[in-house]
Symmetry: C2
Subunit: 320 residues, 2 copies
């Protein structure tokens, strides 16, 4: 019988469940709502029911299921399989999530944070599928990360490696939500890009974005890139600040784990070639001259399913 | 017969050779001079002769030798065993050093850069001997580095990982010898610390270091720390700049590979607790508040033999 894997992406507003074969082809997927005060027991039961229905709908009930992978935001003790806390799901405190899911599905379960599962998805089937060493950034509300070295995710001493959004690039700079100053997340996440633009407009900078702010009461990251593409000087400055900050972390990661490829994912990559080209230009301007670097900087290819695929890929690894 | 390993440290002015047993106890060591236009063939022959004499002097001639490890500055292709270039030994261009030493000694040979060998020495027998994940910095003329993850050195895609001195901490800051601006090496190496002090004095800053500069024509890193300890305000500012720069790279490494321990080595650690305590204070001030970090920041314990020991430890790994 061929092996079947479930990948689960535990998000703030919904829980996605995908069913994959041993080639990690997506056979089917489903989604259930999540909410801030969802109880862990309830979540596990609903995930179990959704997974079983998904398998049944695809004529895969019963012993076909080999292993389950799950990715989520939050703090973990991965070796013990605990979710320690989750900013989105407040009742998930010190929850033995791996054991609960093992008991529910009767299979091995692999738990990881969502930066790692998305990274591992791109590594397995996406923009990193032909390399052994990669670094991964998701550019969304925050900046998440993942590092693959010699084919394996880097977890660190206490499962908090690859918090790449919190690399400090401007000491004593903008305050980040994490408490540090000058994190790359405070400059180059989608939210921070929008926020820096709004602050500049509010403090009187000339920009076509003023109409957006006056009209909508807010400026989105997409607005900033759209106006930069249309030629607005302030919007260009702001997006250049984003691209430069990302180029700086690329350089720092090159000097740290030296990946073959650096891959950007998340909502902000919708900005397209304009963003990618500027990151590459700043990288070339700022990188050392001791040797010619050949690292490739590119965008992710799997879109929103990267986390599901990565969770299933980790399950496949555990189930082999 | 018990196994015997040679560790070699190929430096700018001398080549150290150490002989170790399988517990990595140093049985004996010797040194031969190196010079800028030393030919690779000559170096290999002299290393061979020095190694043989060392073994003979310790009644270990012949088949006892199991493997040889060598660390050096320079650029490498480690998988092929080539030294591509060496800033100190100009004739070492595209040299198949591993094969040459294999042929000379008739044993397996392991080649690595000197940051990695020193790191691996501290990992095996020194300040990192009881951890699996560590980050290592040498504070000398430049800043070298090494990363151990799950017990293994990180080499990266092209053997240039862990160039930790070239992590950019102050974008558009001081020019580094590597061509980048704002590298930690440009602030916090022993040379850069001395240079920042001399620049400040030359541009008129009040300091007891002025007498040193006037008297000696230069200021050393030791002078700066000595005067800081004696209460000189400028010297304190300069050494604080060094400590803060080092704290920032500690934070960035914590968020990247999340080591259990961060270890500083090199001449500058002679500054002692004053330096270590300030690094720790800046780390505590600058680190995020999301969770309590428990990474230990400390000094290396093996001194100048770390590279020899690390080279022998890599040889032991290869010879097992």
């Amino acid at each position: 019988m061929s092996k079947i894997f479930l990948g689960i992406d535990l998000g703030a507003t919904n829980i996605k469940v995908g069913c994959f074969d041993s080639q990690l082809t997506l056979i089917g997927k489903t989604s259930i709502p999540a909410y801030a005060d969802m109880e862990p027991k309830v979540a596990v039961e609903q995930i179990g029911a959704a997974g079983e229905k998904l398998l049944a709908d695809n004529n895969l009930s019963g012993p076909a299921l080999t292993a389950v992978g799950i990715g989520s935001t939050g703090q973990f003790n991965l070796s013990e399989g605990f979710m320690l806390s989750n900013p989105n799901l407040k009742l998930f405190q010190n929850v033995p999530l791996r054991k609960m899911l093992c008991d529910r599905f009767g299979t091995p379960v692999v738990l990881d944070n969502d930066g790692n599962t998305a990274c591992y998805g791109e590594f397995t089937l996406g923009a990193g599928k032909d390399v052994d060493n990669m670094v991964f950034f998701t550019l969304g509300t925050g900046i998440g990360g993942g590092i693959v070295l010699d084919g394996r995710l880097v977890h660190g001493a206490k499962d908090n490696a690859a918090e790449l959004g919190h690399i400090i690039i401007y000491p004593d700079g903008r305050r980040c939500g994490c408490g540090q100053k000058g994190c790359v997340e405070a400059y180059a996440s989608a939210s921070s890009t929008a926020k820096r633009a709004a602050e500049a407009v509010e403090s009187g900078a000339q920009s076509s974005l003023k109409k957006v702010l006056d009209g909508n009461g807010r400026i989105s990251c997409k607005d900033v890139f759209d106006h930069a593409k249309a030629g607005d000087t302030l919007a260009k400055e702001i997006t250049d600040g984003t691209a430069k900050a990302l180029a700086l972390v690329c350089i720092n990661m090159l000097h740290t784990t030296e990946p073959q490829r650096i891959i950007f994912a998340g909502g902000m990559i919708a900005a397209g070639q304009m963003l990618l080209n500027r990151i590459k230009q700043f990288f070339e301007e700022q990188i050392w001259t001791l040797k010619k670097e050949t690292v490739e900087i590119c965008f992710a290819t799997l879109g929103e399913d990267a986390g599901l695929i990565g969770a299933a890929a980790l399950a496949r690894q555990a189930g082999n």
